[in-house]
Subunit: 434 residues, 2 copies
């Protein structure tokens, strides 16, 4: 038997967890990474699964396979139920797991701001299952419209509402507009798919609020050119089977927009594990359920517990909380990995402070257009799209996925054909008013 | 308004239905193809989805997209509930559809020979959902074994039983053996995936009963070389959560093989639409629920109703019913299309007789080995596999799928990496005895 090694447990195999494991690849530790899913998912491209360009496996890679060669690391498929911070133990549904250092990176889930009953009628886009379900809903709406006789029902079926004008909402609305106006153009005999209305509903005064105003304006023009309508200053006050009810910030009159397909891209909140951590340690959470962490990403009173990624509320020295993007999680992962390595070598790690280096952000609008805010450089249109394309390919962890995704993008670019247009795992939906 | 055209309705967009539509592409008719699913599925490669080499979209193509350019044809996503042969009308869940000629090609479903309760514990491989579910079960068994402490439970989790030694069973067993012995080889830290037992249970005296004995023997040797065990002469008499109980034909002693993953490849029966057709027309069904058709594929008393593919029991002039393979359905589709075209041009079509030209059959065993019985030519090993590869690529209807599938086969050939190894749409399964 060898001397017992320092045990590090990482919860979550998203960008935070996976890069934390990689940051510890040369450490002489006993490392375990636990995730409820057996794959790492490249969430930035999930909307392309939801809109039929890519298959789920193209943007996912088995965690086990990614970490196969990292001999200090074992992968477990398991679900964390609670944390026992005193005995330094995680309680999984499948058993218990002891740690000396803990890195929590469980990510985020959709937030309906207290209206959880909206979820059924307005699914959000966080998991592979969400994506294939949204894909099925979008395609089924056109299919049902082709079978329908009553004009009002056809109109409802061909109205698509995307709630939320951030990158995900913009990308989804652009992709649905392309489906209606290009991909499906010649495929129906009764309806005309380009009669579809695609509405992007945004509460604020402009879309892409995190981006420079000029880029956001260009993105809006691109969206409108694709055939989507952008409703600014509208709050969604109700979502039901009939559609979404919106209210403009200038007046109190509500209006119902009838729609069979309402999609939610308006907000996320921390994964429920943050609540379990509060219960165990008394740590504070912010309004989005995120754990308020110390400057070194640990939690107060528990220097051995680190929280990173979407579930961490880290002010990074400034007033604004950090955005819930992969870059933040990856940089925090590298930072925390370094702290753990230094501690193992007896180097004092107190007083360290995580600083986020914003490398920029980008969003695509349709087939060959994107906006990219790279700080000193702002790109839009085709140059923005090429930048977007290469950066996204680069961050796909599996080599074969890069080739498959590139081929499918080229194919789509040349033909407008979204070949992954499968309606699966879906009970046959009946019309709501039948 | 144009003069009303002859209305042809095709039910099912498998090989039979799709090729019937294509056979009628130049006819001056009003053609409708109805399917419950929005895609044509290349079933011969479904086992590669179930074992993580391919994604569902790689072997599926939207029916609408395939028939986009065929202007005489419309595609409907609908489910046929009953046939009204007197009024020449199909009742769909979504409404009614009138026809002058009807081509029924609804395919087959798994048959448990009266033991429908086995299905839950021994899923068969007919749909995309079956494939992703079987994929999840196979991968979950290894994942659960990695978490398990009790040796008996680990053994049960690492025992895989494939019931049925036809091509599907052989291909599945070979693929699972490769997963255990190659793909997962270095990925686990506690279990050794190659400890897995893969059992192919076959009631008859040899596997691949439709093939020449020498080829079947070679296939069995290939399977055994990959690490699968072939149990000949064993009937499965019970399937439960614990595993499968088998009985050898030579004695009455039953023995339970404990297994967490039992897969069913032992038989199919006609889709339920055949029963609806019997109710409507009094047509006869055979023991597998298939419709006994006339020599021209129509049914007795209804020259305007044709039944083709897996759901037709066509003796083709001989004593043996035709096999349930794509070739039969495609040839029947072309034959029936010609009859309808000839009738429209006033040519008598009575007394015609469908004859099946057997072009051979093939099955793969693992990564680079196959058996092919092409009549005058019998191939096995690598030559068999290359023949299998090119013929299967050729019959994929979408061009981009051919490229994607070829790339993924090459990738797998070079790396053993099955990259579509996702556990999706699966509730977390608990251990049966917890």
């Amino acid at each position: 038997m060898q001397k017992a090694k320092h045990r590090v447990v990482i919860v979550g195999a998203g960008f935070g967890g996976l890069y934390a494991a990689k940051a510890l690849r040369r450490a002489d530790i006993d490392l375990t990474i636990v995730d409820r899913r057996n794959f790492h998912l490249f969430q930035p491209l999930l909307y392309q699964v939801a809109t039929g360009v890519l298959s789920p496996a193209n943007i996912a890679a088995p965690v086990r396979s990614i970490l196969e060669r990292q001999r200090n690391c074992r992968t477990l498929l398991g679900e964390v139920i609670s944390v026992d911070a005193v005995r330094r133990r995680l309680n999984l549904r499948e058993g218990a797991l002891e740690y000396d250092s803990l890195i929590l990176a469980p990510g985020s889930v959709n937030s309906y701001f207290g209206n959880d009953d909206w979820e059924e009628h307005a699914p959000g886009l966080k998991t592979v299952e969400d994506a294939t379900m949204i894909r099925a809903r979008i395609l089924s709406a056109f299919e049902q419209a082709e079978l329908e006789q009553v004009p009002d029902r056809i109109r409802r079926l061909l109205t698509f509402i995307v709630v939320g004008g951030g990158p995900t909402g913009v990308e989804l609305a652009g992709a649905i507009a392309e489906i209606a106006n290009h991909t499906l153009r010649r495929e129906f005999r009764t309806i005309n798919p380009s009669d579809a209305r695609i509405l992007l509903v945004q509460g604020g005064e402009r879309i892409l609020e995190g981006y420079p105003a000029a880029l956001a304006a260009r993105a809006q023009r691109s969206l409108e050119k694709l055939g989507a309508e952008v409703l600014l200053g509208y709050q969604v006050v109700e979502v039901s089977e009939r559609g979404a009810t919106v209210r403009h910030s200038d007046n109190d009159a509500d209006s119902l927009i009838e729609s069979a397909t309402v999609l939610w891209a308006a907000g996320v909140q921390a994964a429920p594990l943050s609540a379990a951590l509060r219960q165990a340690t008394g740590c504070e959470l912010d309004s989005g359920g995120r754990v308020i962490v110390e400057e070194d990403c640990s939690i107060a009173g528990h220097p051995e517990i680190f929280v990173i990624g979407d579930v961490a509320s880290h002010c990074g020295g400034g007033a604004e909380p950090l955005p819930g993007v992969a870059q933040v999680a990856m940089q925090q992962a590298a930072f925390v990995g370094r702290i753990i390595r230094d501690r193992l070598q007896g180097q004092p790690a107190s007083g360290r402070r995580f600083r986020y280096h914003d490398k920029g952000s980008m969003a695509t609008i349709g087939r060959a257009s994107a906006v990219a805010d790279l700080g000193h450089l702002q790109l839009s249109g085709m140059p923005g799209w090429l930048a977007w394309l290469f950066i996204h390919l680069m961050y796909l962890v599996a080599y074969d996925n890069r080739v498959l995704v590139l081929f499918q993008w080229c194919w789509y670019y040349l033909t407008w054909n979204r070949s992954a247009r499968l309606i699966t795992n879906q009970e046959v939906r009946s019309h709501p008013d039948n």
